[in-house]
Amino acid sequence: MTDHSKTRRSLGRNGNRRSKFTLLLVWMIFQALWPLMAQENPALRGGLRVLVTPDGGDLDPFLEARTEFPGTEGLLGFSALTAGAYYRFHPNLKGGLFYRLQFGALHNADWIKNGSGEWVWADTLGRPESVLIADLSPRFLLDFLPGRNWVFFLKNRYELNLYNGDQALYIRPGLTYTAFRYRRPLYGLGIHYAAGIGLNFGEHLIYTHQIYADGLYHLSDRFKLQMQLSWNRHNYAGVYMGSPFRFAERFIKAEFAAILIPEL
C-alpha cells in the first residue's frame, strides 16, 4: 500500500505558499537596498569565505578563512584567518571569543601621499595584524510573523587590534527567515545593518556602515552555501604629514561562502 497522493497534495500547497512568500521577501529586500546601492555610484568588490564549524552542541568551534578580491578601485585585497568558538549560553544568547590574523587591512594611518604627492593607500598586504574579538549576540524567534521561522539577531562584537591598539564595536541588527521542508532547513534569507563604532580612533561616531542581504542554501546538515550582497560605507579621517584628510569610501561587495559543519 503506497499512496502519497494526499500527502503530496498537502505538501505541494505548502510549497507553493512558501515560494510566493519567498519571492515577495526577495522583492522587498531588493526594493529596500537598491536606492541605497545606486545613489552613490559605489565601487565593486568580491569576496570568498570558507568556514568550518564542527557541531559541538552548545560549543561550536569556528575556523574561517576569507579573502577579498581587488575591487574596481584597484585595491590589493584583504585576507584573514579567524579561529575561536561560539558558546550557546541560552537558546536566545550566543557568545564567542576569537583570534583573527589579517593582512591588507586599511586604517586611517595607511592613507598617505606617494612620491608624486598623490594620496594613495599604503601597501598593507604583507603586514600581519592580530585582532582579538568578543561576540555576544541575542536572538529571538518571531514566530508570530507569517512563515513563523523569522529570527531577529542583534550581533554585538568588540574588536581589539593588537597592531595599532584600535578598539571597535560593531552592532548589527538583522532579520532572517528560514524556509523548512520536512522539518529540514532548505534556505534562509536575511537583511542586516551593521554599524562600526571606533572606540578610540577616528573622528566619526560610526566609521563604517554596512547594509546587506544574504541567502543561505542548506545543501545538507553538514554543508551550506551562502551569498551575501552588501552596500558599504567607510569613513576615514586623519592627518598625514600635516595634511588633514577626511573622506568616505563606498563599495558594493558580493561574497560567497562555503560552510562545512562536520560532526564532532
Binding site: M1, T2, D3, H4, K6, T7, S10, L11, R49, L51, T53, Y86, R88, P91, N92, K94, S137, R139, F140, L141, N149, V151, F153, T176, T178, F180, Y182, R183, R184, P185, G188, L216, D221, K224, Q226, A257, I259
Partner: protein, 219 residues
Amino acid sequence: MHRKIGAMLLFLLILLGTLSAVQASIDFVDGRVDIRRGGSILAADFGMDLVAGDVIITGEDGLAIISLADRGSIKVQPDTTLSLNSLDSDVEVELQSGAVFSRLERLNGGSYRLRAGTAFAGVRGTEFYTAYGKTIEDLPDVWLCVNEGVVDVSLQNGAAVSVAAGEGINILSGRDITPPQFFAWTRDLNWNMDPSAGEVLDDTDLETLYNDPLDFDYD
C-alpha cells in the same frame, strides 16, 4: 471417521488458540513504572500480568519490556504512556506520549496495530520504533523507523505509506507523511530487548533532530 473428527477437533483447538486473548505480562522493569488499571495505579513488577485497558506509564528513569507471549515484545521507553487497547487476536496499542520499540515475531494470523495520535501503524511481523517528536504546529510529530519487515502507516485524513526495513518517516503534526527514507540517526537506536544481552535503554534524543533557526549563525 474417528480420524476425521480428531483432525477437526485439533483444527478447532488450534483456531481457538489463535483467536484467544494474548497473554501479556511485564518481562522487565527498571526505574519507576506504573500500571493504570481502571481507577487504580499499580506499581509494575516482573511477571505481572497485563489486561486489555491497562495503561503503562514510565517515569523519567523508567523502562519496561512487555511480553506479548510468543507474539513479540514492546519496549516502553522512559517518559512514555502506552495503553493496551486490545489484547485479542488483533493486538492494538496506543502510544499517548514518549517512545516504544515494537518487535512482532509470530502473529499467528492476528495483527498488531499501533496508534499514535492520528496515525495507525499496522504490521504482520516486524520490528519498528515509534516516538513522538516536537510539537511545531498543532500536534506533535510522530517518528516511525523500521528495522525489519514492512509497516503500513495510515492517517485519519487518508494519507498512507508503506515503510520498509531501514526506512523511516516523520508524520508532521498528524497531517503529512514525509517520504520514507534512511535516517542516519537510526543507526544508533538500541533495538535490544534482552536485558541479559546488554543495555536495553535507548538514549535517542529526538529534540536533536530538529534544526533550530536560532542556531543558524555562520559569521
